[in-house]
């Protein structure tokens, strides 16, 4: 039980949020209405997805004040809890890619190191910028046309239709294609949240003295480039690409990793 504490917490959070969104449509609840694009919390607090908002603004439409305020609230929230906490604690695609990742390990698909020359982790930042440019050219929020995140969420709330094929595609891509292919390399929304949370308060801290170098954390970490300090230095994981998923904290048997409030004082 000990080594799945955060995993369970995350799944619970994801399910509760999706269930509230689902209930808003199915039963008329006013807890969390709408979808990630724009939502209403408790019927009056606006929330909005910052990347979508930027795309819509780029496409040449001045959005209503509610949406702008909503995006502002979301940015503030994730600046504190870690931008990519959205990815691991909220985003429904996370369940798909985590499953693909888990299967990859079970099927031992990662034994051979493969060099994906064209797909690098930095690709998502290019895609993020590209999405804004394409939005401006075509005159429609470009990522929202194909975003598997909102397709999956709307699928859960309003029914999937053929949209389910996009989810299957992501699953297959992550399972047989590139490891952490979608979330770790391509997703522009994740890139946006990486930037938002790059200075976030809640971070995982590494204690080098306790570390036995088993490297379990690096095996489970979806962004294991952020764990460069393992068994080397006692510092916090401050990279914005860390999703604060807490899997490393879960699997560490040596008490060498734990969530902390980031201290800006020490260098």
């Amino acid at each position: 039980m000990k080594n799945i504490k955060y995993l369970l917490l995350r799944r619970t959070t994801q399910f509760i949020l999706l269930f509230l969104y689902f209930g808003a449509n199915a039963y008329g609840w006013h807890m969390l209405e709408g979808t990630f694009g724009a939502s209403k919390l408790f019927g009056f607090i606006p929330l909005a997805d910052p990347y979508t908002v930027v795309q819509v603004l780029a496409s040449g439409f001045v959005l209503g004040a509610d949406v702008l305020l909503g995006a502002f609230i979301i940015v503030l929230f994730y600046m504190v809890v870690g931008g990519r906490a959205f990815c691991s604690w909220v985003c429904p695609i996370n369940m798909v890619t985590d499953l693909a990742n888990w299967l990859r390990r079970k099927l031992k698909l990662d034994q051979q190191e493969v060099n994906y020359r064209f797909i690098k982790r930095k690709a998502r930042y290019w895609i993020m910028v590209l999405g804004i440019i394409v939005s401006a050219i075509v005159g429609v929020a470009a990522f929202e046309v194909l975003s598997p995140i909102t397709i999956m969420q709307r699928g859960i709330v309003f029914g999937f239709g053929a949209g389910v094929s996009v989810i299957v595609a992501i699953f297959l891509f992550d399972l047989f294609g590139v490891k952490n292919g979608w979330c770790g390399h391509l997703c522009p929304l994740g890139a946006t949240y990486s930037l938002i949370g790059s200075k976030s308060l809640i971070r995982v801290d590494h204690n080098h003295e306790n570390c036995t170098g088993c490297m379990e954390c690096k095996v489970v970490c979806p962004e294991n480039q952020v764990l460069f300090m393992i068994n080397k230095e006692s510092i916090s994981i401050t990279d914005g690409e860390c999703t604060n998923c807490g899997r490393c904290v879960d699997v560490c048997n040596d008490d060498a990793l734990k969530f902390t409030i980031r201290s800006f004082a020490k260098k």
Partner: protein, 274 residues
């Protein structure tokens, strides 16, 4: 020295590669998005901006569809819950994904007086001012979701059969659709009761299309830009004082060329070789 040269070459190559791939991705992405935008004839909720702007503005949150589905008044006469009018486009709907729309033959818009779908729109894609009167009060009759069109060859009223299903289904009874009486020359003693849609009143709710008795509705709603024509500004109604205002300051223009030398009658009677 050689090493730094190599590094520089490598850096240049990777940069070029990244830029190239980004351009490729951008082209594909733009092409796909532009195609996805080219929706077929889709009906939007009340107060929707013109399609091009609507697609920019809609943030695909679904609050309008939820308001439609869950409104208090959404009951059938027997008290059972009615399915919501607004659907969120999903994969396979051949429509911009995630945008709200409705299909009159499935569930038309029942034109709720409190228009629950419009005020909840956070982005401004559904424009509340377009469905409000001068006093700022909501008025669903001002919405223009589309415009009903009658295909007279399949409309049985045009055959002489008495049918006024659309006329009676219309929420703006005897305003948006009126019945025009005409003598039935075929029988010599009956009348045609022909449905005529008035575009200045029709909201495009689709209740007529839903009510139409023919196998495939002979009256159907199309988005307004598809069901209207345009005469062009160079037609001026000589009998309309208001329209005459447009040409108040118009000056006479004399065109001088070979043909204008002659009188119009000469020109018309002139032998022309083709």
């Amino acid at each position: 020295m050689e090493n730094s040269n190599n590094n520089r070459r490598k850096f240049m190559a990777t940069t070029l590669q990244s830029v190239g791939l980004t351009a490729l991705g951008g082209l594909l992405w733009s092409g796909y998005s532009d195609e996805a935008k080219a929706s077929p004839l889709v009906l939007r909720p009340p107060g929707a901006l013109p399609e091009e702007d609507f697609l920019r503005a809609c943030i695909k949150c679904g609050l309008c569809a939820e308001a439609c589905e869950n409104r208090e008044s959404n009951k059938n006469r027997d008290g059972s819950k009615r399915p919501g009018t607004l659907k969120m486009a999903k994969g396979g709907d051949h429509n911009m994904i995630g945008t709200p729309f409705f299909i009159p033959t499935k569930v038309p818009c029942y034109m709720c007086e409190d228009i629950p779908c419009v005020p909840v729109c956070p982005s401004g894609a559904l424009d509340i001012t377009s469905v409000s009167d001068d006093k700022g009060e909501l008025d669903i009759n001002k919405s223009r979701m589309g415009l009903a069109v009658v295909h007279k060859e399949s409309c049985i009223a045009f055959w002489g059969i008495q049918c006024d299903a659309c006329y009676r289904a219309c929420p703006l009874l005897d305003e948006a659709i009126t019945l025009e009486y005409q003598k039935n020359e075929r029988t010599g003693k009956h009348a045609f009761l022909l449905p005529v849609v008035h575009s200045d009143i029709c909201t495009g709710c689709g209740l007529c299309e839903k009510a139409c008795v023919t196998e495939k509705p002979a009256i159907f709603v199309l988005p307004i830009e598809h069901s209207t024509g345009k005469a062009g500004s160079h037609y001026v109604k000589g009998w309309d004082n208001k329209d005459q205002e447009r040409v108040k300051d118009a000056k006479e223009i004399h065109t001088k060329n070979e043909r204008s030398e002659k009188e119009a009658t000469d020109y018309l009677n002139m032998e022309v070789e083709y």
